[in-house]
Amino acid sequence: MSHDLPGLLDTEAIRKDFPILGRTVHDGKKLVYLDNAASSQKPRQVLDALSEYYERHHANVHRGVHVLAEEATALYEGARDKIAAFVNAPSRDEVIFTKNASESLNLVAHMLGWADEPYRVDSSTEIVITEMEHHSNIVPWQLLAQRTGAKLKWFGLTDDGRLDLSNIDEIITERTKVVSFVLVSNVLGTHNPVEAIVRRAQQVGALVVLDASQAAPHMALDVQALGADFVAFTGHKMLGPTGIGVLWGRQELLEDLPPFLGGGEMIETVTMEHSTYAPAPHKFEAGTPPVAQAVGLGAAVDYLGGIGMDRVAAHERAITGYALGRLAEVPGLRIIGPATAEDRGATISFTLGDIHPHDVGQVLDEQGIAVRVGHHCARPVCLRYGIPATTRASFYLYSTPAEVDALVEGLEYVRGFFG
């Protein structure tokens, strides 16, 4: 198999940075890790940043007048600067650290539920999402709708895995307070058109929330160019540690909207009767923050920035194109989502005849190939396409064409096994 794909990164060098990629499983089988949409692996540089932090600088942040507290604070707030630069935020104070993307999205939903006008979601208003959302961008809005009486509406999907925007003017109306949707789907791989939705939302004065969990790891993100009001993503999918997520929000909104979690760090002054709150981002960061995890995420975006997000995207485009081509050769394989590399990410879901994805995944695993199977926390997508589940292979900057070949061979073996 010749792999002369334009745009590929030097994966041989990159893979050396990721200790786990050298692992073997099932008695010596080389690990082929194709579960990056669930979580990425971590380079040595991120692990070193974590160790260095704990071995040399750890203390609780803010308020401290001793050396360690000052160092820890500088590292934590320095990580905020790095993330702000990574997504081109106009201000560092617009970057809120959360525990994961799910918390980021819940945070927005809660703020809007308790907000004053003009942001308040109540029983006279509507919330818009889409049928391709991750549960983390469905359930918070269902809860908000139940608790406020607001109506939840959504965009449907076309047969080829794209948002159906044909009825956009009926879905997003004068009653719409917020439109929340995924930038890149974690099941279909679809890269959604932001501009059309933002334009319509702005017409009716609705806020726009972007779930960029599957975008931030894979492409240059520019929150100013996107035009959304909030952008959420999660550290562990972009080479960072578990236990950290990000919510970017427009400064004016963060000033106007009420806090969510209450506690240390988010206050200005507290009496038993009444408290006032610190300015954003601290207003939204109650309690001791994920300090080490922010430092680790800072190292992760340094690593990604060092390579260049455009080169990461080009690499994944090449791998995705190659994978789509090779998967098309496998008899009985049906891609769930866009069949071409255009406007899609490096996540490919498929079914294989009537072999259940669990069985596909298990037999692939026996060959050392790690894919994810199930509904990928986006069950409505499966319902929409009338399937119980999919098998999903997802790539990242360290993925190689040889791994695509291994997947295809593995699938042939699966077919034989259950044939």
Binding site: H356, P357, H358, D359, Q362, V373, P388, A389, F418
Partner: protein
């Protein structure tokens, strides 16, 4: 994990399809979307039929087939004992090596011993057995009324 016996039951399931029963349940395995609709019919204290329909992986399908083969015709107490033994085996995390006594109780179902090493799949194997237990409880409840 994929013993011949399991693959056989998967490819040629026993007693599949829904037939009249005394109680029906619908169980879902939320971690993977496997679903089963299962009905039990009792003839006094005898398991007269277990009929089912569903979608799922080979493990959950084969397990339902084995269940049907094993339990239909048995006295309820005996069937309960089989269920309990199967549950014990599946929750053993690969620590139980089925002995002759167990094999006698479980027959084909001992083939699932290997599955117990895979926590993510144990639920697949148990789906129909949990559904059966639930449906049986409902049928008994109704009897009482």
């Amino acid at each position: 994990m994929y013993q011949e016996v399991i693959l056989d039951h998967y490819k040629h399931p026993h007693g599949r399809g829904l037939r009249p029963g005394d109680a029906e349940v619908h169980h879902v395995n939320p971690t993977c979307g496997d679903e089963i609709t299962l009905r039990v019919r009792y003839d006094g204290a005898t398991v007269a039929d277990v009929s089912y329909e569903g979608q799922g992986c080979s493990i959950s399908q084969a397990s339902a087939s084995v269940l049907n083969e094993l339990l239909v015709g048995k006295e309820l107490t005996e069937a309960m004992a089989v269920q309990a033994t199967f549950l014990e085996l599946m929750q053993s995390k690969g620590q139980i090596e089925p002995d002759d006594a167990m094999e006698e109780v479980l027959e084909d179902a001992v083939a699932f011993a290997g599955v117990s090493k895979y926590p993510a799949r144990v639920k697949c194997a148990l789906l129909s057995w949990m559904a059966w237990k639930d449906a049986t409880a409902q049928a008994l409840e109704r009897e009482k009324l």
